[in-house]
Each structure stands twice: as structure tokens, then as C-alpha cells.
């Protein structure tokens, strides 16, 4: 595979970096479909590794684009976000329809799930109203058969007036036929004569009236009848667009008509389903009543309020087991041999170079590379597990059983799994929030993820607590974990009510049919997500590592007299409220690079190395109340640099990233002071 496929984030309309094909035709194909219809599987089968992954310009929506060649024709395939409809409810829906309207693809492949044909065709009903020829890929006919649903593709094709290709994408059945059909539609060999849905008779008149009012005022390239229909549906984007295009008097007229028909949204949707009913009537044979499907049998357990929780707990146990048995040794190996070896090599090579250069390379650059590299094993496992659970259809069940609990914090059921896995490491927790469709719930989950005590933070607690608290150390550790979770819950309620004004994403979610995971799809996902981490977060981690290293050695060459120490001394008044001196503050600051750096810094500043002696020195220098406050602050302090880098990567906003850091700084300081005073009060 060539690295160039991951080298750039293409923008809409930007030409792909393809081999020169001047005489040959290039056909632009958009791949559309509802969630869980096997879109990624088809996309990967068609394009292989020849794909770009990026974001749609200005959106947090992932954009995948690839290319393939068939019979001398090159196809540019753009994967549209999976959406249930094309009404401007979410960024995904806007991205999908804007692409079709503005870029005018030669063909739109609409993938539908044969096992839930009626619901899948809802998107097709919307696509047929747009100005691009549609080819229907009737996927998962094997699953449909299992569920007792039989469909005759020719009959469906005759009813819709568009080609219908039966497929089993997971077994690579019908994918070639699909691309051949696309070719024949693009070249005009198959005449395109769609029979799009008409609005219900009782709304025909009002639709015509709106069309008459807006005629000649609809901006290019939007189709006039589509704009009229979307106005009737109350689509916010189209309404905004037309308000700015029409004169005030004309807009008032349109607005009056719309106000008199504000129930039209449900009527239009109902009309589409009536049309779908007519389309499938002749083509589909339904299962006999009383037939119990595999999904139904599995769901009796997986969505049960008690058994469902136990199954979820079992799966989480397996994930953690896998992480500790596979990822931890790998991380140690990478850290000791690869990063350590590199550092030794560099040190030897730079033996005669000035000390600052050797320090920069060994501690700054290689240290930064090391922290990116050592995160990879845990990320690989995490992406593989999340991908597998999502692909099999289990993720929605986990969200279902946890929704009641997560709801109390203003979160969504789907927030649970990423947050819980944050106990292992906060980085995958933030990256894992992509499974949450609601943008607000996703942002809130990202903001709260750093409050989950990760293993690196727990390691610091395990190192310091015994010296201060002796046999009570375990109790103190558990108390600190509970404290962190309580702060998380409180912060959730607080942020949700203050910033999001208590709104909650509606909990209405499809539970897809279970099916066997597709390893190819999961493999590609793991690869792409990991590369994205290295490319985006990795660069930031490396850059900031070097800066913080520089601050910790300049100007004198040691930490005690560095700029970082100066910052620590400057912050000392804030720390004194809980008994912290500048050395403990500097330790907190260096934990920004990686949490375990705290210990190393304390070792240097107290001249005690990193052995158990250090903890004893701390315990004799500071009272237990300060020790407790320091540990509490360590638990809630701003997360490590890698976590910050992925928060920036996932929110695509420095504003939210900085807000998150400021929030955590404030919360940890307030909690630290609170813990200190409480501890003094009870006489610790």
C-alpha cells in the first residue's frame, strides 16, 4: 500500500491523486444508504486500499473517497454518511444531500437492507427526488432469507423504474454486477426512467402553491420542486436559504401557507411510506407470523435489564483482559526496546554534540515519538473491539441497557462504552465517542472522558498512597476513584444544564439485526483510525513534547532552575491553599506530557530517585492532608498531552479543547482545596 492514500484530506470537488487517465472516462459515483446496511463493506470491496479518509470541509463528519477501474473506466466513489433520511436534522444529512445536488454524481448507488426493505427504501424515496440517477443495491438478501423475507429484484426494479442489483456484500456476491450496472446507467445504456413518489393527494394543492410562489427565485443548482417539498416539510436549512432569496413580501406569503400546514412533515413522510408499500407489495413475501428470528432470540438475553448487564460486564471483562495480556506487554516492549534502543543509539551518536542537542533529540523528540508509539497497541485493540462490536450489531444493545443510567448525566446510552474503556486509557475513550450520533451527547462525552481515572493515574496513586496512609492506602485509592466518578457525574449534570440547557438527545435508535463481523471492514477501520491518530494527534504530541522539554531544561539545564520551575513558583500561592509547594506543582505540570512523568519529576526535585524511598521522603515532608489533596488533584488534573491531542482531533475545535482544559484545571483545584480542608477538619 502506498502512503499517498493517507497523505491529504481532499475537499469536495478536488481531483483525486489518480494515475493519469486523460482519454478514459471518469465516472463520479456516490454511495448512499441508511446506517447498518453494509455500506463500508461495499465501499471497501470496490476500492480496496485505494481510498482517502478525511473530513467533509468544515464538518466533523468523516469523508471517505476511493477509486477503482472497470473495463477501462475509472470510477471515483464517494461514501456519503449513513443517514435515515435527507432532511436537515444533522450534519450528516446535509452533507449527503448537498453532495448530490452540488456535485451531481453520474450515479448514486443506494444501498438497502433486504431484511428491512420498507424502512431502507425511505432514503431511496428521498433520493429519487434529487437530480441524479439511482441504482439500488439490494444487500443482505441472505439475512433477509434467514428472517423469512423473500424479494424478487426484477419486480422491485419494475416498480421503482430503476435498476435493482441483489447482493450479499459480506460474501462478495453481486458487487461486480453492481459496478457493471453503474457503468451501464452512467453510459446511458440502461435508460433511466424512475417513478419517484408523489406527494399525497391532500397536500398536492399546497405544494403547487408553494412552487408557484418561489418560481424563478430558487438559487442554482437546487431543483425547484425539491425546494418546495422541503419547505413544506419545514426543513430548516432550505427555509433559511429561501428566506434570504425571496423578497420580504413574498416570504410572508410563503410563510403564511406553511403556517397553515405545519402538520405536513408527518403527512409527507407518511406519503413516502405509502409509496414504499405500493413498491414492495408485489416484490416481497413476508415471514409467516410466529417465526422467531435469531436476533429476537439473542435479544431476549442481550437487552434484558439483568442478563443484558451481565453480558455487557462479561464483554468488558474480556476487553480489559485482552488489553492487559496483549497490549501491556507490547507497550512495555516498545517502550524498553524500541524507544529505549532509539534513545541509546541517539545518545551514542550525539556523544560529542552539545548537551542541549542530545537532550533535545533524546528527551524531547524521541520521548515524544515514544509516547505516540506506545499508545498504538492499546489503540489497535480498542479499535478492533469497538469495530467488531459495532459491526456485529451489539453496540446498540450495550447502549440500550445503559441508557437509563447514562441519561442521568445528560449522556446517551452510547456514551457508556467509550467512557468505561477510559479506565484503561483516556485516549481511546475520546476516539471511541464516534459511535455516538448525537453531536451534543458526543461532545459532552468527550469533555467528561478525562475525568475517568486511567491506569497511569492509578499507578501514581499506587506509588504514593502507601507511604502516606499505610494499610489504609487501598481504601484511599478506592475513595479517590469514587471521588473522580462523583466529580464526573456532577460535571455531567452541570455542563448539561448550564451549557446545553438541559436538552437531551432523544433516545430513539435502531437495533440492527445481528450478523457475523466482516474482518476486512474491521481491519481497514483499525488501520485508518490508527493512521489518523499518528498523523493528526501524533504531530501535536511530538511538537508539544519538545516545547515542554525545552521549558523544563532552559535556561540552566536542570529542572530546579528552569522556566517550568519558575512557573511552579509563580503558581505556589494557589497551591498553598492545599499545602502544595512549587515542587509538587511542577510535578503536576510535567504530568501533562505523560502521567507517569510526575514520579520522575518528584524524584529529581527531591533528589530521591524514583525508588520507594521517594514516596517516604514525600510522606515525611508533607502532612497526609496535602498528600491526599495532591492525589485528588492528580486524579482530576488536565489529562495527558495525548488525550488533549485527540480531544482537539475529535472536536475539531480549539475552543472546546481549551474550555475542557480550563474546566478540568478549575475542577481539580477546587476539589484539591476541598479535600485538603476536609482532611484537616477530620484531623488527618
Amino acid at each position: 500500500m502506498s502512503p499517498r492514500f493517507f497523505s491529504a484530506v481532499p475537499t469536495v470537488g478536488e481531483a483525486l491523486d489518480l494515475p493519469a487517465v486523460t482519454e478514459e472516462r471518469t465516472v463520479l459515483v456516490a454511495l448512499a444508504g441508511q446506517p447498518n446496511v453494509g455500506k463500508s463493506t461495499v465501499f471497501n470491496l470496490l476500492t480496496g486500499l485505494n481510498q482517502h479518509v478525511g473530513n467533509w470541509p468544515g464538518k466533523t463528519v468523516e469523508r471517505k473517497e476511493g477509486a477503482f477501474t472497470l473495463n477501462g473506466t475509472t470510477y471515483r466513489l464517494v461514501d456519503l454518511p449513513g443517514t435515515y433520511s435527507l432532511t436537515a436534522n444533522s450534519a450528516e444529512e446535509i452533507v449527503a444531500r448537498e453532495f448530490i445536488i452540488r456535485e451531481r454524481p453520474d450515479v448514486v448507488v443506494a444501498l438497502v437492507d433486504a431484511a428491512i426493505l420498507e424502512r431502507s427504501l425511505y432514503l431511496v424515496a428521498e433520493l429519487l427526488s434529487l437530480p441524479a440517477p439511482v441504482v439500488v443495491g439490494l444487500n443482505m438478501i441472505d439475512v433477509a432469507r434467514q428472517e423469512g423475507v423473500e424479494i424478487e429484484p426484477e419486480v422491485l426494479a419494475a416498480a421503482l423504474g430503476v435498476p435493482v442489483v441483489p447482493m450479499i456484500a459480506t460474501k462478495n456476491v453481486g458487487v461486480r454486477e453492481l459496478s457493471e450496472t453503474v457503468d451501464r446507467v452512467a453510459s446511458g445504456e440502461i435508460p433511466y426512467t424512475p417513478k419517484p413518489p408523489q406527494i399525497r393527494a391532500d397536500h398536492q394543492e399546497v405544494l403547487e402553491e408553494i412552487e408557484r410562489l418561489i418560481v424563478g427565485c430558487v438559487p442554482d443548482p437546487y431543483p425547484q420542486d425539491w425546494v418546495a417539498l422541503k419547505l413544506l416539510e419545514g426543513d430548516q436549512e432550505v427555509t433559511r436559504m429561501m428566506r434570504s432569496c425571496l423578497s420580504d413580501e413574498r416570504w410572508e406569503e410563503v410563510h403564511d401557507v406553511l403556517r397553515a400546514h405545519d402538520d405536513a412533515l408527518v403527512a409527507v413522510a407518511g406519503g413516502r411510506y405509502e409509496w414504499i408499500g405500493r413498491m414492495v407489495r408485489a416484490a416481497m413475501t413476508r415471514p409467516k407470523a410466529g417465526q422467531i428470528s435469531l436476533t429476537e432470540r439473542l435479544d431476549r438475553w442481550a437487552t434484558h435489564p439483568l442478563w443484558g448487564l451481565l453480558i455487557l460486564a462479561g464483554i468488558l471483562g474480556l476487553v480489559f483482559g485482552l488489553t492487559y495480556t496483549v497490549a501491556s506487554p507490547l507497550m512495555d516492549f516498545l517502550d524498553t526496546y524500541v524507544v529505549g534502543g532509539l534513545a541509546d543509539l541517539a545518545r551514542a551518536a550525539l556523544a560529542r554534540a552539545p548537551a542541549w542537542l542530545s537532550g533535545l533529540v533524546v528527551d524531547g523528540v524521541i520521548g515524544g515519538v515514544g509516547s505516540v508509539l506506545t499508545f498504538l497497541p492499546i489503540l489497535l485493540i480498542f479499535f478492533a473491539v469497538m469495530g467488531t462490536l459495532e459491526d456485529m450489531g451489539y453496540m446498540a444493545r450495550a447502549a440500550y441497557v445503559m441508557d437509563g443510567f447514562m441519561h442521568m448525566m445528560g449522556l446517551h446510552g452510547k456514551s457508556f462504552l467509550p467512557l468505561f474503556l477510559g479506565f484503561g486509557c483516556n485516549v481511546p475513550a475520546v476516539l471511541g465517542t464516534r459511535v455516538i450520533e448525537s453531536r451534543r451527547a458526543r461532545l459532552l462525552t468527550i469533555l467528561l472522558a478525562p475525568l475517568i481515572p486511567c491506569t497511569a493515574r492509578m499507578a501514581i496513586v499506587a506509588f504514593i498512597a502507601p507511604a502516606f496512609f499505610g494499610p489504609a492506602a487501598t481504601l484511599v485509592s478506592w475513595g479517590l476513584v469514587l471521588l473522580a466518578l462523583a466529580v464526573l457525574a456532577l460535571s455531567g449534570v452541570l455542563i448539561n444544564n448550564l451549557i446545553f440547557r438541559g436538552q437531551r438527545a432523544a433516545f430513539i435508535m435502531e437495533l440492527p439485526l445481528y450478523h457475523l463481523p466482516n474482518w476486512r471492514t474491521i481491519g481497514l477501520l483499525v488501520w485508518q483510525r490508527s493512521m489518523e491518530f499518528v498523523r493528526k494527534a501524533g504531530t501535536l504530541i511530538l511538537g508539544v513534547s519538545v516545547v515542554v522539554w525545552a521549558l523544563s531544561v532552559m535556561p540552566g539545564g536542570d529542572v530546579e532552575h528552569s522556566y517550568l520551575a519558575a512557573i511552579g513558583r509563580w503558581l505556589e500561592p494557589a497551591g498553598r491553599l492545599m499545602g502544595l509547594d512549587w515542587r509538587l506543582i511542577v510535578a503536576l505540570l510535567t504530568s501533562f506530557i505523560a502521567k507517569e512523568n510526575s514520579i520522575a519529576t518528584l524524584g529529581v526535585l527531591f533528589g530521591a530517585g524514583e525508588g520507594p524511598g521517594l514516596a517516604d521522603v514525600l510522606a515525611t515532608t508533607f502532612p497526609p492532608s496535602t498528600g491526599l489533596a495532591f492525589l485528588a488533584m492528580q486524579m482530576l488534573f488536565i489529562p495527558c498531552l495525548a488525550t488533549v491531542a485527540v480531544i482537539r482531533q475529535e472536536t475539531r475545535s480549539w475552543g472546546w479543547t481549551l474550555f475542557n482544559l480550563a474546566f478540568l484545571l478549575l475542577v481539580s483545584w477546587v476539589t484539591g482545596v476541598g479535600v485538603f480542608w476536609l482532611a484537616n477538619l477530620v484531623g488527618l
Binding site: 430548516q236 407518511g270 435479544d299 447502549a399 437509563g404 441519561h407 433516545f507 435502531e510
Partner: protein, 99 residues
């Protein structure tokens, strides 16, 4: 919307199916296995749009698959299984159909 986690008393004391034919109820009080036809939807535009695109429109046949009287429930509509919070299920009005 905020009291989703509280028990729905109507589920426990729901009258037998035969007596409640043609009666319009909220989806949230239907028991597992009961079928009905959607007769009305309530809610803001965003929620209506989402419910409609997932298959809940007047005339759609719904079968409740799981409903423990508290917490979210599962219903089958237009061939798909949809999980809904109690608040959302209270916005869907259904006329029961005899089994």
C-alpha cells in the same frame, strides 16, 4: 421526558387486550407482543422527523417486543427493531389491534 426512569403504572394495570380494542393508547403502555397501528405523533420538529424516518408514521403497524414498565422499550416497526426512551414512546399514539 425527565421522568423516564420512573415506573409506568399503566403497564402493570393495563386492561386485557380484548377489552381495549380500538382504544388509543401511548406506545409506552403497550405490553410485549401487543400490536397496534400508529394514529398520532407528538413532539418537536426534530424528533418528529427522526421518528418518521425510522418508520413511525400514522398508519404504521407496531409490535412491542420488550417493555418492562420502566426504562427504554423495544418496538418493531416496518420490519426494523427500534429502541425508544419512555419519553419518546409517550409521544406515539397507537390504536391497539387484536392479535
Amino acid at each position: 421526558m425527565r421522568n423516564r426512569s420512573k415506573t409506568d403504572p399503566a403497564v402493570r394495570s393495563s386492561p386485557s387486550t380484548s377489552a381495549s380494542d380500538n382504544e388509543s393508547v401511548f406506545l409506552s403502555v403497550m405490553r410485549p407482543g401487543e400490536r397496534g397501528v400508529v394514529v398520532g405523533l407528538a413532539g418537536g420538529r426534530g424528533l418528529l422527523c427522526r421518528m418518521a424516518s425510522l418508520g413511525f408514521t400514522p398508519g404504521a403497524e407496531v409490535t412491542v417486543i420488550q417493555n418492562f414498565g420502566r426504562g427504554p422499550l423495544i418496538a418493531q416497526v416496518r420490519g426494523a427493531r427500534i429502541a425508544l426512551g419512555r419519553g419518546e414512546a409517550r409521544k406515539i399514539q397507537v390504536r391497539k389491534v387484536a392479535l
